[in-house]
Symmetry: C2
Subunit: 134 residues, 2 copies
DNA sequence: CCGTATCCCGTGAGATACTG
DNA sequence: CAGTATCTCACGGGATACGG
């Protein structure tokens, strides 16, 4: 159940599924994890478990609806665990599962790339838009 | 303009932008590259330039509209180049730019992860759905 | 061959209000 | 605190037809 095991599974199954194929389950999974909120949530949980309200605070601008909806989806897919502490008021913690921790570095890479290359993209956009205006 | 230069820029700008913040340009860029079609297109171009019709064939199920729309967006963001050969009929080739090649490994990692872990996700879903039915 | 243009429907997603 | 429930609207995105 360690990361190595997950890596082994990945190698073995690499040829079994092909996200290029429409209707392939891998295509659908790629669609669900290629989501803005999913990447932000998985990255936010990389430092350890967080409560529902903490997630909403870290990920500025996310609505309750999208936060709950994304968390449910991640929980169903086995990427995030949900732990309820029956206190008053109730306390709910979300954490990465082993599978989620396996995916997290990839999501971090996307987020870091976006943050580190936004200026290149912006200047590329300006150049593109300027050429259209000519 | 090599990959190393891009990596240096990434390190320098890492703290300047934060995708957790709503309204931050990095958040918007994260949203655009966290897209199913974007990841499939960038991966498809990793082996070298492809023509428009080839892309449509490799990425099964993509509509003309989404293919054209995604390619325009990628071109504007400086991730993909578009080369027109004025023959009869006209020939158009799409290729990764240096910036696009810098991002491609990350997109490949997502696609590979989806293909390699879909079975884990499927069994997690079955377990989740079974618990709800009880 | 490589698109653009139009129509149209489903759903992604915010705002708001309410509950255990 | 941690959600659920509606309502609403904009837009993603497919189908189809046409143009250079």
């Amino acid at each position: 159940m360690a990361t190595q095991t997950a890596a082994q599974r990945r190698d073995e199954a690499r040829v079994a599924y092909d996200a290029y194929l429409a209707g392939c389950p891998a295509r659908e999974l790629l669609d669900t994890i290629s989501d803005k909120w999913v990447s932000l949530i998985l990255n936010a949980l990389s430092g350890g478990p967080l409560r529902y309200s903490d997630l909403g605070r870290v990920i500025a601008g996310i609505s309750q609806k999208m936060l709950t909806q994304s968390l449910r989806s991640l929980e169903r897919d086995g990427l995030v665990s949900r732990t309820v502490t029956p206190s008053v008021p109730v306390r709910v913690d979300y954490a990465l599962t082993d599978l989620g921790q396996d995916l997290q570095p990839v999501m971090m890479a996307i987020k870091s790339w976006a943050e580190g290359n936004i200026e290149q993209v912006r200047s590329a956009r300006e150049a593109y838009d300027a050429r259209l205006a000519s």
